[in-house]
């Protein structure tokens, strides 16, 4: 018995460096994660009730979406209790679980604004590099999404390079997944930068800019598409989009499905077939869930309002937010 105990003590001692590394990886993500992490961390902290989004107990409005929604909608300009839970690279898959958690923690909001770039209805390109890597889901949710993705034939989830053990590796904070970030950050070089960003995003109630250019005429992803991709990723995205709308219906939450603006350059390059297929898709959703408000037109903004190809700059975000909020959550200040 003594021999066995001694063996296990030695084994523990031998693997102590590995144990410490895993513990550090799990407990101090702000020290080494990249610049996108603070936004995802903010959303997760709010949705799980670890961070109070602030505001009174009156009317509550939640924004769900991707980086465009995060950059384009500035909650503070609404004059209402709005929290922007959108994050860069998110699709309806991530936002469904965000909204579900939010409902469990805070109860039903008065309005939900859903806003994704059109290409995020066809591609979930950040599933492995953001959603799983940043542990956005709980582990059971991650497994569920993974198997649903395989079932629906998602090209991103079932990409031939990743599998279920990559999910486990991330959720157990194993060095395989985080070593490049740990080494590149020299373990804690990113802490102050990440904390700074987190505080900034918290103070902006989830809003954060992406591009910082004072005008941009670069073309966005959508301008390169000739048709809307309806297989692979789209199937799981559509499944979760419907789940979000279903949740809104079940909880009698007013829903607005908005459209992010595009810069003039990209807008002029849009393929009419792509636009009509995309509009058809939104129309189809509006037929199944007619209680919501659906925007079908993609707004066109001058290039000067863009910080990069897909995101508004500060000037643009202010203009768009004022217009959007005035239309859908009118406030005496704007009227």
């Amino acid at each position: 018995m003594k021999k066995k105990l001694l063996f296990f003590a030695k084994l523990f001692a031998a693997f102590l460096p590995a144990i410490l590394l895993i513990a550090f990886t799990a407990l101090c993500p702000m020290c080494y994660q990249d610049g996108e992490y603070p936004a995802w961390s903010y959303t997760r902290d709010v949705q799980r009730g670890k961070l109070d989004p602030g505001g009174d107990n009156g009317e509550r409005i939640v924004i769900l979406g991707d980086s465009a929604a995060m950059a384009d909608l500035v909650p503070k300009l609404s004059g209402r209790n709005v929290v922007n839970l959108a994050v860069g690279g998110a699709t309806p898959v991530e936002m469904y679980y965000t909204f579900k958690d939010y409902l469990e923690v805070y109860g039903k909001p008065d309005k939900v604004i859903i806003m994704f770039s059109p290409f995020h209805y066809s591609y979930m390109d950040n599933f492995w590099t953001r959603s799983i890597y940043f542990k956005h889901f709980s582990i059971t949710e991650a497994f569920k999404v993974y198997y649903q993705g395989k079932k629906t034939g998602s090209d991103t989830i079932d990409d031939g390079k990743h599998n279920i053990t990559d999910v486990i590796s991330c959720y157990w904070s194993l060095p395989q997944s985080y070593l490049p970030a740990l080494l590149n950050s020299r373990f804690n070089n990113r802490y102050s930068e990440n904390i700074g960003k987190y505080r900034e995003i918290s103070s902006q109630k989830g809003h954060g800019l992406f591009g910082r250019m004072d005008g941009c005429d670069y073309l966005n992803y959508e301008s390169g598409y000739s048709s809307m991709k309806m297989d692979g990723d789209h199937k799981i995205i559509d499944l979760y989009m419907r789940k979000i709308l279903e949740l809104c219906r079940e909880n009698s939450v007013n829903t607005v499905l908005g459209q992010c603006p595009m810069n003039e350059s990209s807008y002029s390059e849009l393929n009419p077939d792509y636009v009509s297929q995309y509009t058809e898709y939104i129309k189809e959703l509006s037929k199944i869930y007619p209680e919501g408000i659906y925007e079908l037109e993609i707004p066109k903004y001058d290039n000067m309002y863009f910080g990069d190809a897909s995101h508004l700059n500060e000037k643009g975000a202010e203009k768009f937010s004022r217009e959007f909020f005035a239309k859908y959550i009118p406030d005496p200040v704007f009227e």
Partner: protein
Amino acid sequence: MLFNSLQFMLFFPIVILVAFAIPNRFKYIWLLICNYIFYLSQDNAVALFLVIATVISWLSGKWLYRITESKKRQILTIALAILNLTPLIILKYSNFFLNIAGSDKRLDMILPAGISFFAFQSTTYIIDCYRKESKPENNLFKYALFVSFFPTILSGPIERSKSFLPQIDIYDNKGFDPDRVKRGLMNMLWGYFLKFVIADRLFILTDNVFSSYKDHNGAIILIGVLAFTIRIYCDFAGYSYVAIGCARILGYDIMDNFRQPYLSRSIAEFWGRWHISLSSWFRDYLYIPLGGNRKGKVRKCINLMLVFIVSGLWHGADLSFLLWGLLHGFYQVIASVSKDLKKGLTKEGGVRKVLDKGPVKKLWQLLSYVFTFLLVAFTWIPFLAGNIKDSGGIFLGIFKNFSPLSLIDGSVFKLGLGVKNLLIVVFAVFILFITDLCCERKKCRIDRLLDNTRPLIRWVFYYTLILLILFSLNLSTTEFLYQSF
């Protein structure tokens, strides 16, 4: 499921935990289940070939043991061995033979993982039963455990039935024995060090050099060849050490596959230290039955060439592997002929007297090590190129535009590794060299060597290895090289 995958890191602890928890008499059934889970995770579509090889060889063994007539037994053994090897021959070599015949047609066939290993292992059993060196196993499941044993099924060592099968019924070492587990873990740690820290880093360098070897000068190609020489050793020996470690923890002793091969002073010695399970297989089941060295010098040379041709083709169905085998066969023939010549010289001129003197002897030994290493390294060229055309290109590339300046002007840092990783790999190769030297001097394996080392040195060694492995985990995306054979 690769040894360097997370699936395996999750799979193996479950295997050992259950194996230690269940009664001894059921352990082989549990391990058999694990073997098939392991194999199915690798190649579920073709697991049928494994089942077929198992059943054919098991029935063959029983049948052969019953037949008494010697001629009939001999013919039947050859027929059954060929039948057992038929899937391997068809699946692996059809396209090669079509190519040789000048046909452009290519058959689209899946090669079951590890078929070269389990086909040889099961054929061994048939021959051992014929030779009455192994008693036929009555229990099909115990036999299936031998053929499909997960630590060895994909890349060896090619285990012998006569040493493995009796171990299934020995229960004393199947429980949790701290010493045995410790030795197993030491082997695994060393194997992972070789794979993760050295082989995977050198993969980046060699991939960079040989994917566009025409763009590099001779000195860089030479570095690539030397790096590949170390990489293939670390990759394959790494796999073998992990396999030996896993087996040991589970209570099975399997044969060594490597014994410091680059510390050889001749090609013959190299083959006694490199992929021992395969080279001894060829010796016992091909070279000796062909007559070995018993039928005269010419026949010995022919037999040697034949063995190395088959060995080359075993590694891959391409002319480049054949060339690799031919070269090694040629070296062996030259060595065999020169041995006789050397004997004559030492008798007549007394050269031996000079060579045996202190400093000259040491210098001669050192030159022998270096010469053998370089010969082996250059012979890897067709192996690494994978086709004859590139083999020639790489070989000639070394001599064309050879610029030694590129060794010191920082060009080596631009081969994908960078300064940090290159320094790590140099340090790791230094550890490997020292460890191999120590194992060679003490004539023991790494686990025994560490056991006899002072605790402080041992623990420094453990931590160095563990830390190096931890900081190399993200590099490990490559398969083990020998998995494709």
